[in-house]
């Protein structure tokens, strides 16, 4: 009960605040900026085909209604929330009248699959390699690894992905460039293996990028931990190196790493969006890009709102699992 009050409630309220702030920003921004989304949509539509003025006028009314631009700003804000809580993100303009939420639903499994496998693999890989590099600073392999990750870390995601595309899709032509799978969706070896095959390069670009960050963090954490008394004691007591690394060093770096994981999901998601665009991977990042190309304001807004809520929730879940790792929170 105490744990619930002192640990879960503050996190839950922060989650609500994050969503409140994020959604409010998406409400205010398009209204603050000088251009009008309705005018923009209309001009894009009328540039594609000639329209008669009366049809434009009625379309304008329909759009204003759709974007909730009628009434005072406060009423608009309330209506905006009402629609969001119902899960209604409006129809997509480019694929009218498919609801935006349906487009998101179609892309979501791909994005989530990419995101989860990336986060999982890079977190484990980064921590293990980083801890080893911090624990054995004189080892040649660890030094080489250190240099490699330090040069990879600052490179922008897009550049990293582009280099992989250049080398493995065009130059060597090992991996496919478009799509998430080939063949009909079914539970069979050929379909499942094609999913893995298509996701290999996108996932690799993301994993390399986020492992580099995790590696640097783990190495820095380890270098402070190996100076501590209990590690010296364990070494004096003659415990094996593996035991020390696994149970004394890594165990203690896990806590800050878990906190950081919750905070970095947003950044990794941003990376996923870029990766999906580069590899034409059919997730919601790619839908976002398609929305951009077709000037589909509703789709862009819908995906933005959805990703804010989704990332905030994922961060909350990571945060709530923290007591499993840290006994101090449990026994307080």
């Amino acid at each position: 009960m105490n744990l619930l009050k002192s640990y879960f409630l503050p996190r839950l309220s922060q989650w609500l605040i994050t969503i409140l702030v994020g959604v409010t920003v998406t409400f205010i921004l398009p209204r603050l900026l000088p251009t009008d989304p309705v005018e923009r949509t209309l001009s894009t539509l009328s540039s594609l085909q000639t329209m008669d003025p009366r049809a434009v006028e009625s379309l304008k009314e329909a759009l204003e209604d759709l974007y909730g631009l009628g009434g005072s700003p406060f009423e608009q804000y309330i209506n905006y929330w009402k629609r969001l809580i119902r899960g209604d993100l409006g129809p997509s303009m480019s694929a009218f009248p498919t609801p935006v939420i349906e487009i998101i639903g179609a892309g979501l499994p791909w994005t989530v699959g990419l995101l989860i496998s990336t986060i999982f693999i890079s977190w484990i890989l980064g921590i293990i390699l980083g801890t080893l590099a911090g624990y054995l600073p004189k080892n040649l392999w660890c030094q080489i690894m250190d240099k490699i990750f330090i040069s990879i870390y600052p490179i922008p995601y897009y550049i990293l992905a582009l280099i992989l595309v250049m080398s493995f899709c065009y130059h060597f032509q090992v991996f496919p460039l478009v799509g998430g799978a080939s063949g009909k969706p079914e539970i069979s070896w050929s379909y499942l293996s094609s999913i893995l095959w298509h996701s290999f390069l996108p996932a690799t670009s993301l994993i390399v990028g986020s492992t580099a960050f995790r590696f640097i963090m783990a190495k820095a954490l380890t270098s402070t931990i190996i100076a501590s008394d209990y590690v010296h004691y364990a070494e004096t007591a003659g415990l094996s190196r593996w035991r020390i690394v696994l149970f004394y060093v890594i165990r203690n770096t896990l806590l800050p790493q878990a906190t950081d994981l919750g905070l970095s999901i947003g950044a990794i998601f941003s990376g996923t969006v870029i990766t999906e665009v580069v590899f034409s991977y059919p997730g919601i990042g790619y839908s976002l890009y398609m929305g951009l190309l077709q000037a589909d304001f509703n789709l862009i807004l819908g995906i933005t709102v959805f990703s804010i809520v989704g990332i905030a929730t994922a961060a909350l879940l990571v945060d709530l699992s923290y007591p499993l790792l840290d006994p101090r929170v449990r026994y307080k």
């Binding site: 922060q14 605040i17 994050t18 409140l20 702030v21 994020g22 920003v25 998406t26 921004l29 398009p30 900026l33 000088p34 251009t35 989304p37 923009r40 330090i150 040069s151 870390y153 600052p154 490179i155 922008p156 995601y157 897009y158 550049i159 582009l162 280099i163 595309v165 250049m166 065009y170 919750g262 905070l263 999901i265 947003g266 950044a267 998601f269 941003s270 969006v273 870029i274 665009v277 976002l288 890009y289 951009l292 000037a295 304001f297 862009i300 807004l301 995906i303 933005t304 990703s307 804010i308 990332i311 905030a312 961060a315």
Partner: protein, 286 residues
């Protein structure tokens, strides 16, 4: 000055980073002597491979890759620099204010800042630049990037202020009649500087990455040459499919050199400024 000389002498990665950076700045300065205008197209034959006449080849728009690259480096550095300047000034003010005032104001500000740490910035940026499309010149871009990169640094400055506020010398300064503003400026700011340097570099790297990303998505002013727009036009004319690698190679390789150089300098600087390694260095040096 002595610090730089020292670093140059003893720190391999600093030397490496500094030399690359010098070359980069040299390239950016060369843009002032370019024989062509930055936005002019069809000034040289299209799609020429690198040769003696055009060392980095020419683009599908009929521009000399080398000279366009000099403009691109200059513009990208200016955008990222402005973004860092704007973001960091706001972050320092916000962080110190929040840390000093404390109480409810601090709590409200911190929950908002925390929200911005969690919210994914790229979709938000795409939304903003989409609505602004066509009017997004590079001053706007710098402003927006600056504003979106406040959350993390302000949190760090706040925790710095919180710990500095409890220090002995702060009390001494306050009791001897210094006002709050002076205390921050004279007593606390010197402690900020190392953090500010390392932090400015990480902001710089982020801004360069986002500039490239937004340009590649076609969301910036595409007529201004930047590293991102160079890649955009390369992709637009199918440089990969047509085997015209040089069009993309120049901006890609340059961007890697820029970010790695900056990062190496920042890590060697923060290592140098860290009191623990300073002690070690004195021990081994003396």
């Amino acid at each position: 000055m002595k610090i730089i000389k020292d670093l140059f002498k003893y720190h391999l990665s600093f030397r490496f980073g500094a030399i690359i950076l010098l070359l980069i700045f040299l390239l950016a300065t060369l843009s002032f002597f370019s024989p062509y205008e930055a936005t002019k197209r069809r000034v040289v034959p299209k799609n020429e491979a690198p040769s003696f006449d055009y060392i980095f080849g020419t683009t599908s728009l009929g521009q000399d890759v080398f000279w366009i690259l000099t403009f691109a480096i200059r513009n990208t550095l200016i955008i990222a620099g402005l973004a860092v300047l704007i973001g960091r000034s706001i972050a320092v003010i916000l962080g110190s204010f929040s840390g000093y005032v404390g109480g409810t104001t601090d709590r409200v500000l911190q929950s908002i800042v925390d929200s911005f740490i969690v919210i994914p910035r790229l979709p938000l940026l795409i939304l903003i630049s989409f609505v602004l499309k066509g009017e997004l010149n590079f001053l706007h871009l710098a402003l927006i990037l600056g504003f979106l990169d406040i959350a993390w640094p302000s949190k760090r400055y706040r925790s710095q202020i919180l710990s500095l506020r409890e220090q002995e010398f702060t009390y001494t300064a306050v009791f001897s009649g210094m006002n709050t503003f002076k205390v921050i400026l004279k007593e606390h700011f010197p402690f900020f500087i190392p953090y500010l340097l390392a932090d400015a570099v990480s902001g710089f790297l982020w801004a360069i990455g986002i500039e490239i990303t937004l340009a590649v998505l076609g969301l910036c002013d595409l007529t201004t040459p930047t590293i991102g727009t160079m890649i955009y036009w390369g992709n637009y004319y199918q440089a990969l499919l047509m085997q015209r690698l040089w069009v993309l190679a120049a901006p890609v390789i340059t961007s890697i050199f820029i970010v790695v150089a900056f990062y190496l300098i920042s890590t060697s600087l923060s290592e140098y400024l860290d009191p623990r390694t300073r002690l070690k260095r004195l021990g081994t040096g003396g």
